[in-house]
Every structure is written in C-alpha cells, then in structure tokens.
Amino acid sequence: MNKPRIQLMLCGGSGCQATRSRKFQDALEKELERTRLDQEVKVIETGCNGFCAVGPVMLVQPEGIFYQKLTADDVAELVEEHFLKGRPVKRLQYVEPASKETIPNMNDIPFFAHQKFRVMRNKGMIDPEIIDEYIARDGYFGAAKALTEMSPEQIISEMKISGLRGRGGAGFPTGLKWEFAGKSPGDEKYVLCNADEGDPGAFMDRSILEADPHSVLEGMIIAARAIKANKGYIYCRTEYPLALHRLDLAIKQAREYGLLGKNILESGFDFDIEVYQGAGAFVCGEETALMRSIEGKRGMPRPRPPFPANKGLWEKPTVLNNVETFANIAQIILNGGEWFAEIGTETSKGTKVFALTGAVNNIGLVEVPMGITLRQMIFDIGGGIPKKRKFKAVQLGGPSGGCIPAQCLDTPIDYEEIAKVGAIMGSGGVIVMDEKTCMVDMARFFLDFIQDESCGKCTPCREGTRRLLEIIEKICQGNGEQVDIRTLEKLSAVIKNSSLCGLGQTAPNPVLSTLRYFKDEYIAHIVDKKCPAKRCTALLGFKIDPDQCKKCGLCFSACPANAITWQKKEVAEINREKCIECMSCYEACRFNAID
C-alpha cells in the first residue's frame, strides 16, 4: 500500500470519546469512502492529545493543522474543502481568546508552544494499538541497547547521572531505588508499575497508558534488566477500561515480537508482564498496600523497614515505579543521562506532566520543563482564568498536597521549591481556583476524601482525620469558634507525626496550607459567619440585594423551585418558604447580587 497523502491523527482519548469522537470518526470514514479518498487520506485513532478542553481534536499530518470541537456535521465540509480542494476550514480551527486570531498550526498555539514533549513525545503521533508505529519512532531501541550493550551496573549508573526522580509523588531518585533492589540478594525479584492514579483530579498516567503504552513496558523491561527481575506487574485502576485494553494489546504484541517473554532479543534475559486490576482504594497507591493488594488481601500498608527493595511483593526484592517514571526511562538509556539532565533545575531534572484543570481556560494535559514557574504554566500555557474572574490559588498534589496563593505564583516547578511554599510536586494534579472557590470548603472536600479512604489501620489517621472533618464541617455550618483554629493546627501536627503511611502523614496538608494562606477566610466563617466565596450554603442569606440587582432575570429562570419572583425591569426576590437552597441562583447571577 502507498503511504497516504494525508494522515488524520484523531484523538480517541477518554476526554474526546466523551465528546463523541467515535461518532465523528464513523462519519468521517464513511465520507472518505464515499468520495473515494480512503486510500489517500487515512484516519488514525490516537491517545489523548492533551488539549481535552476543545475536544474532539484532530491533527492533519504532514501539514500540522489542528482542528477542534469536531462534530459529525462538520465532516462533509471538511472532506470537500480541505482534503479534496486543499483549503483548510478556518471555522474549525483554534481561536486565540485574547487577540481573536485564528491559529491553524498546532505548534503555534500557545497551549502547545510552551510545552516540551519527552514523556508525551508520541502522544497524538502514533496509533497506540500498533507496535510498529512505536518502533518506527525509536521504540524499544532503548531496551535493545540496555539488554545487549549494557551491564545492569551501567544502566543504574546512567539512571543516577540523569537525576530522574520518581513521578508518583515522593520524588525518590530512581537510580538509587534500582541500585538498592539490584544489590538485594535473591534470584526472584519483581518490577511493579503503579498505575493506580489515586489523586482524584488527575489523569496523567491514564493518558500516557492510553496514548503510548509501549513506552511504559519498555521502561519496565529496562528496570527488570537493571535489578535482574523476571516478572513484572502493572497495577492499574479498573476505572480505566481503555488503558487496560491498550495495555493488554501492547503486552500481546510485545510478546509476539520477542520483546517480552523468554530470551528477549536473543539476550538470554527473560521477563514478562501481567496486568493486575485494582478495585478502587486510594490507599492501594501506597507501595506496601499495593503489594498486599496484588497478593489478594485487603490493601493495608505495613511499616517500613523492611523496604520493598529488600522485602516487597511475596516478600521478595521489588522495585515499584510510577507510570510516568517508567515512560522516561527508554529515552534516558538511548540518549544518555546527561542529555536528560540538560533540562531542569539543580535538584529536579527533565520534564513533568501535569493535568491542568479547574478554573483555567486551556484545560488539559501539559508537559513542561522543570524550572518554569507556576505562573507560566497557568497563564502562558493555561491561558489564564476564564470569565474575567481573579486567580485565587492553585492546588498541587491532590489530597496530600497544598494550595499555593497568588503571591507565590513565581515559584518554579521544582520538588524543593514547591515544598517550601507548603505544597508538594505530587503526581501532577493541578487545580486552578478562582475567587468563587471557598478555601475552607476545599479543605473540607479533601478531608472528606481522606477520611473516606483511610484504611483504618492506625488510629491517628482514622480518628484524627474524622475529627478534623467534623471541625471543618462545623465551621462551614456557621458553628465555628475561635479555638477551632488552634485545635485544627494541633491535631494536624499529631496526625502528621504519628500515622503509619503517607496517606495519614500528609492528610492534614490541605488544612494546614489553607490555614497558612487563607486564615482570614476561616475567620470570616467563624467570626462574621460569612462565606466570602459564597459556597457554604449554611452561611448564605438567600437574599437579593436590591442595590446590586441588575434586574436581568437570570436567577428567575435558573430556580427549579419557582422560588423567585421577577418581572421585567424589576428587582428579583427570593421566597424563602419555597427555596430549597440549591444555589442555582448564585451560579446564575453575574452581578454578585445575591447574599
């Protein structure tokens, strides 16, 4: 078959599938067939392209033209104008919100232009279900080099030079971890991949697995070679059906190509990988709990030492790394540790993938060089805050992390610098918050999550987080007292110091970091009995301020309980008898007129 004239890289990631990319694809393929273009123009379903907010998205190669928000109704025009007549369809291209300018080429769109693709270098470029496409982009060259030209010691030394640190949250140096497990005695060892992605607002690992599953397998093969393990597991969330499907396919294909199984690439080295489906417990992302879960037990952490490098899965020496960590490995081996370390800061090398979400214009997956500032990520790549609202805080690290306020926006992305301002690098969840977010309510949200997910093994975590939640709930209900702040601080310190695993040890972070920067908001709840962001229902008046009301009637249409009376050119009014306190009117009002 001839190489097609045009390749259409259509995103089939979870985000775009949710915006009906499949329907568009069906229509597109039919139309190409009808117009007999199907030999010249090929549709390739890729993994997440990154710019999920404007999905379904499609990249036209080799031109590099980027289309967004595609629907089945656009197909006829697209095929006729662009693929037949060579005139790209402007109406489906990206428009820069500030300048209102249309930007046809993907690489010129600010969202992409400021990123640096290493881990995600294949995203949207290959069909993740075909191993040859991965190989065509230097796939498995790193594994080949590691297996045929390098000793385990050389692999580990290269990893140490790279300075790569674990991307799962704690940032432990990967080379060092491998060295420990490599030196640990025993001829039965394991390599595990943590694809449990527990942070409830993040989807980096999922997207990597969906877009480029072989990169993770290749990293695992190299790790196995370095520590001399013959068996690996990928612990993946059941909630990720597409990632699971693609992993299964990738493993099958790798076996067929002799890249997994016995005597890989004739090197005499055996290694195989199995996928293990998790069953929905946040704590199973913790390393010792994860291993217990693979053993079929309740996933509860155990004290360390012994560390998994000595006694891990089935009590054997084990290395556990995160998905993104593994996705970095092959390129380090191929290009060298020094190449990797060229990017970044003193202590944080390479790039980091983030799931940028919340109150930001360009929601999606981004990969940035370490060392750029949070401001650059949120404003240059993320395009700033929508609806002309003001930036309030950014949350990093999920339930174990913290909120960073506006005055710290120039903090560089670096493990140590982020820790200094009270958050953590975390696994890559970035939630941007605007003035409509209540920080006390956010602390409540994370505590509610933690309290629910605490495995219950140790008392400070189980009971302590419950007490924290009760106090914060009391404050949100308008029953807070001044002493509560002290109690929160004291209790947090106890939980941090005396919990067994990372879940408990970091659980108070969302409380502590909001207390650190937004104490006035707590005070407003406690003393003035007011929620400045107007999120805490119990502290709202459900009253319309006649001086602020612009008489637009939006609240009237929004109310499901017919509790609002309004007539043209008249101030609206809420009937408290009928009001069900659903807050729809607060959402609807653009003039902040409801108190």
């Binding site: 909630e239 069953a279 309740r298 979400t357 919340g358 977010t437």
Partner: protein, 164 residues
C-alpha cells in the same frame, strides 16, 4: 457454616451459575485470586449477594471472613443490588470546583435518591466516583456507558429522561 452446594438466589440465573463456576475453576490455583474472582462474579450478576460471597469462599476454599473483608474494603464491590441505570457523578477535584455538588443535590431532590442508593423502582442507582479522566469536561456525569460533560443542574431532567 453450611456449604452452599447450590446457588439458589432470585438474582442469579442458572446460566450465571455456570459462568461463576467457570470463573472459580479458572482461579483455583492462582495466588491472590479473591479480587479478580469477586470482580468477574460481580460483572456476571451485577452485584455480590451474600450467598454468592459464601459460594466463592467455599469454591476457592478461603475463609468467608477474608472474602467478605476484601469485598467490603474495595469500593468497586457492591453487596446491594443496583438499578437498571447507574448514574456516576464525578466527585474528583476538578468536577468539585466546577460545581458537581449542585448537580448531585438536584438529582437527590428530583429522584429522592441519595448517594450510594437505588430508587425503589430500581430505575437509577447513584454513585459518587473519583476523577473519570475527563476533567476537561467538568463537571462530569456518566450514565451507564455515556459520558456527559459540562452538566448543569438545570439540564438534568432532560438528560435523564432517556433512561427508562
């Protein structure tokens, strides 16, 4: 403990029983089989009735307390029957920031349905889940296999109408 030689339960058909037997047989020799067996059995029946837990524990020759312990630890497993349609509301951070709470409140009010429960007519079950990986579309609601992004409380009624 009586051994459940046969699996008689209104929600478990004879075909289901033979599939369950296959699953158990296939995992007899696997270490750490409880979680996959529970998952596959739940896929077959839709939930895990107590009797089925007993049956699995007997079949795998693992103490009932251990099987039940695993089944109650992980949020994936449900010991209660589900409705014909499952509404999953994303309670991930991105969806929370974008107002999923109002959406859940509206569902609760409209259908008298609390999180984790099923309507008496078994039409809907409401579950809260964490991040569905579609944060770009927050707030997100998944009904059966359909993902709905950018949902607001006001469009719920028409959105759910299609699910009988």
């Amino acid at each position: 403990m009586p051994t459940p030689a046969q699996l008689h339960h209104p929600d478990i058909s004879p075909e289901m029983v033979s599939k369950i037997d296959e699953v158990i047989a296939a995992h007899l020799k696997t270490e750490g089989a409880v979680i996959p067996v529970l998952r596959l059995c739940q896929d077959i029946v839709g939930y895990l009735p107590m009797l089925l837990i007993d049956y699995i524990s007997y079949g795998l020759n693992i103490p009932r307390s251990e099987v039940l312990g695993v089944a109650t630890f992980y949020s994936l497993f449900s010991l209660k029957p589900k409705g014909r349609h499952t509404i999953k509301a994303c309670l991930g951070t991105a969806c929370y920031v974008k107002g999923i709470k109002e959406v859940i409140t509206r569902i609760s009010n409209e259908f008298n349905l609390k999180e984790g429960e099923t309507t008496p007519d078994r039409r809907f079950s409401l579950e809260a889940v964490r991040c569905l990986g579609a944060c770009g579309l927050a707030p997100v609601l998944v009904v059966d296999q359909d993902t709905h992004g950018g949902v607001s409380a006001s469009q719920l009624k028409s959105l759910l109408e299609h699910y009988e």
